[in-house]
């Protein structure tokens, strides 16, 4: 176990370097730079600005400078939000995105798993078709479609929630639900599939044969096995929720990190983009580790190669 963790750590560090390098050169290969605006700057003035940030140095010089800085945990100044360092931007935005994401995920799990279980147990009946149809439609509509409709419904027609913002309890609900909805649908389907798989297995028959009540069989024996696909989905889902929150953050004016993901790429804010990529990578590594460990816990058949 310990050696597995150490190995994983080393792998993570190595891949992080690969990610850093790939991102660094990929970003700079795209046409346009951070200081190109609609108003073209006088070349000499642009040179002055570039000199400030060192973006006119040779690429290898820049690479090693930034790598050295990143190793020390300093991601440098943002080019577009010039008053802040990337560290400050992430420190302010990440807690907000993370709390939004966690709430959405909790909502998704809380709605998705029970729906999926019910649908599987009552397979082929109303309780299967009804919720699963809702689930598929929930998955099928783009978020930029659902969120504005939700605003019209629950802010204007039936004024339950405020239009935008983040910080009070009533501001949390609408964005979390909108963000979690497609994930809930996805999870419900995965749970249903996993559940059907498990319910046909011998140990479930044995459990029934022992005389356990259906509730006991489902909750004590079946669910655990049925959640495997869900668990393996959680890793990418967490990452997806972080970037996917872009639309929610934009529509509900939530000051998280989602918008930065797209804007830093579009505006060529190299340092901020790099910071976000590294953050995203770390998050994903941790989540994948958790998923692998959970897999082992839930399914004793899985061996972790160490």
């Amino acid at each position: 176990m310990i050696s597995f963790l150490i190995k994983r750590l080393l792998w993570t560090a190595a891949t992080m370097w690969v990610v850093f390098t790939a991102t660094f050169f990929l970003m700079r290969a795209v046409p346009g730079g951070p200081f190109d605006g609609e108003r073209k700057l006088d070349p000499e003035i642009k040179r002055n600005i570039e000199a400030r940030y060192g973006t006119n140095d040779d690429l290898d010089v820049q690479y090693f400078r930034e790598l050295g800085r990143a190793v020390r945990g300093d991601l440098g100044p943002s080019y577009k939000l010039a008053d802040f360092t990337v560290n400050e931007i992430i420190a302010q935005g990440f807690p907000i995105s993370a709390s939004l994401g966690t709430l959405a995920l909790c909502f998704a799990l809380g709605l998705g798993i029970p729906t999926g279980i019910l649908a599987a147990v009552w397979r082929g009946r109303g309780l299967d078709y009804g919720p699963m149809t809702v689930a598929t439609i929930g998955m099928a509509l783009p978020e930029f479609f659902v969120a504005p409709l939700a605003v019209i419904l629950f802010v204007f027609l039936w004024p339950l929630f405020p239009a935008a913002g983040w910080g009070s309890w009533d501001q949390l609900i609408l964005p979390s639900v909108c963000l979690g909805l497609p994930f809930a649908a996805y999870i419900a389907r995965l749970t249903r599939t996993g559940m059907l798989e498990v319910l046909s297995q011998d140990y479930i028959r044995t459990a029934y044969a022992k005389g356990l009540t259906p509730t006991d069989v489902v909750l004590r024996h079946a669910v655990k096995g049925a959640l495997l696909p869900v668990v393996s989905f959680l890793g990418p889902a967490t990452a997806g929720i972080l970037t996917g929150s872009l639309i929610e953050e934009s529509i509900f004016a939530i000051p998280g990190l989602g918008i930065h993901f797209v804007q830093s790429a579009q505006q060529r804010d190299y340092t901020l983009a790099m910071g976000l990529v590294l953050l995203y990578f770390l998050l994903l590594s941790v989540m994948n580790l958790v998923v692998d460990l959970l897999y082992k816990l839930l399914d004793p058949r899985v061996k972790i190669d160490s």
Binding site: A29, P31, T136, M139, A140, D299
Partner: protein, 371 residues
């Protein structure tokens, strides 16, 4: 007498057994699955719906629809209207029914050989008659119904092709990684981690900008590759990651099972074990993921449209239409006919795909035979 009777029944029973065994022999796994699938009404309905949608999309040039790209600013934001149902208004045909090539180009853009002959066929069948704006018009006065149909072509194609691309890459990759295990598995999974952790938006911007550079674009166009084709590749190349991960997870648990052990004992090669023994056992999960991936690809396409990186006007896709619809959802007023169309099209197609996946899964799973 008694013996004779007994003999007779004995013979009849034997005969019956033979008969039965003959009948059982004839049913293969695929037929069996098809038989079970047919019983599932909703799945059949989904299949029929999707096939119908596909056929309509392919046959769009044949249908008496208005131009999806003709701008008529004076007719913008017309609501749904069914009266009259048809009108002889096709601008690209003159009164004598002759095609005005310049006008045709304005109405439908450049058409390939197939579409061009379909359009000519249409002109022969329907003449100048075309449907009126049943689903209303958009902010430039273009017919929403025609846009939905022409958009379906792009959206369905993107979904199917990208889904298949992701399927092929993802399954081979995931199964190989999970089965071989050890450092190969770790390395292959790290590659996925790397690809995951470069946010897709960078990859998309990178690829689309590189591929839209003048010289490259010209070269691609000469080889018949336009921006939509680039889409398949980009999107397919992004969506195989999840597929690979899930397949690997399943393989990890499957490879501990006895039938794999047995195959190894009799000396099967790795490739044979992976593709002959493992992959079929993954079929149900693969199909479920594929049916989940296609709608996600279609949504991703709409997300790209949201970011302005989607298909280029005057081409249309459902994502683009959904986006234009979403722009009109404001508390001041909702142009509902621009929302209902793309919303229903996307929603129903994705729902049907999902339902189809479920049905196929159930049908293909031998363990569900008696349920």
């Amino acid at each position: 007498m008694t013996t004779a009777v007994i003999d007779e029944t004995e013979a009849a029973r034997r005969e019956r057994l033979w008969e039965e065994s003959r009948r059982v022999q004839g049913v293969s796994l695929g037929q069996d699955a098809w038989r079970r699938f047919r019983r599932d009404r909703v799945s059949m309905l989904s299949l029929v719906f999707l096939l119908g949608m596909g056929i309509l999309a392919i046959a769009t040039p044949l249908l008496p629809l208005q131009s999806p790209r003709l701008v008529k600013v004076d007719q913008k934001f017309q609501p749904m209207k069914f009266r009259p149902l048809f009108a002889p208004t096709a601008a690209w045909l003159d009164d004598a029914g002759k095609i005005n090539e310049a006008k045709l180009d304005e109405c439908f853009g450049e058409l390939n050989v197939v579409n061009d002959s379909l359009i000519k066929l249409r002109a022969a069948i329907f003449g100048r008659w075309e449907v009126t704006s049943w689903l209303g018009t958009d902010h430039l006065g273009r017919d929403q119904l025609a846009r939905l149909f022409w958009g379906a072509r792009v959206s369905l194609l993107v979904g199917v092709v990208a889904g298949l691309v992701s399927l092929v890459i993802g399954v081979s990759y995931g199964a190989t990684s999970g089965y071989i295990g050890g450092w190969v598995d770790s390395a292959m999974m790290r590659v996925i981690d790397v690809m995951y952790s470069v946010p897709f938006i960078f990859i998309v911007i990178f690829l689309i900008t590189v591929l839209s550079e003048e010289s490259i674009k010209k070269w691609l166009l000469e080889h018949g590759i336009d921006r939509i084709v680039i889409f398949y590749v980009v999107v397919g190349a992004i969506y195989w990651l999840t597929m690979a991960r899930v397949v690997r997870g399943q393989v990890l648990s499957l490879k501990q099972q006895q039938f794999i052990e047995a195959a190894r004992t009799v000396g099967c090669s790795r490739a044979r074990i992976i593709f002959v023994h493992l992959v079929p056992n993954l079929l149900s999960i693969i199909i479920v993921y594929l049916t989940l991936t296609i709608p996600r690809v279609m949504l991703f396409e709409s997300f790209l449209s949201f970011l302005g990186l989607g298909v280029e006007p005057p081409d249309v896709s459902w994502g683009l239409l959904a986006n234009e619809g979403a722009k009109n959802i404001t508390p001041i007023g909702i142009v509902w006919w621009l929302i209902v169309g793309p919303g229903l099209a996307l929603g129903l197609t994705c729902a049907a795909l999902n339902r189809l996946g479920d049905g196929l899964r159930d049908a293909l799973d031998p363990r569900l035979k008696n349920r």
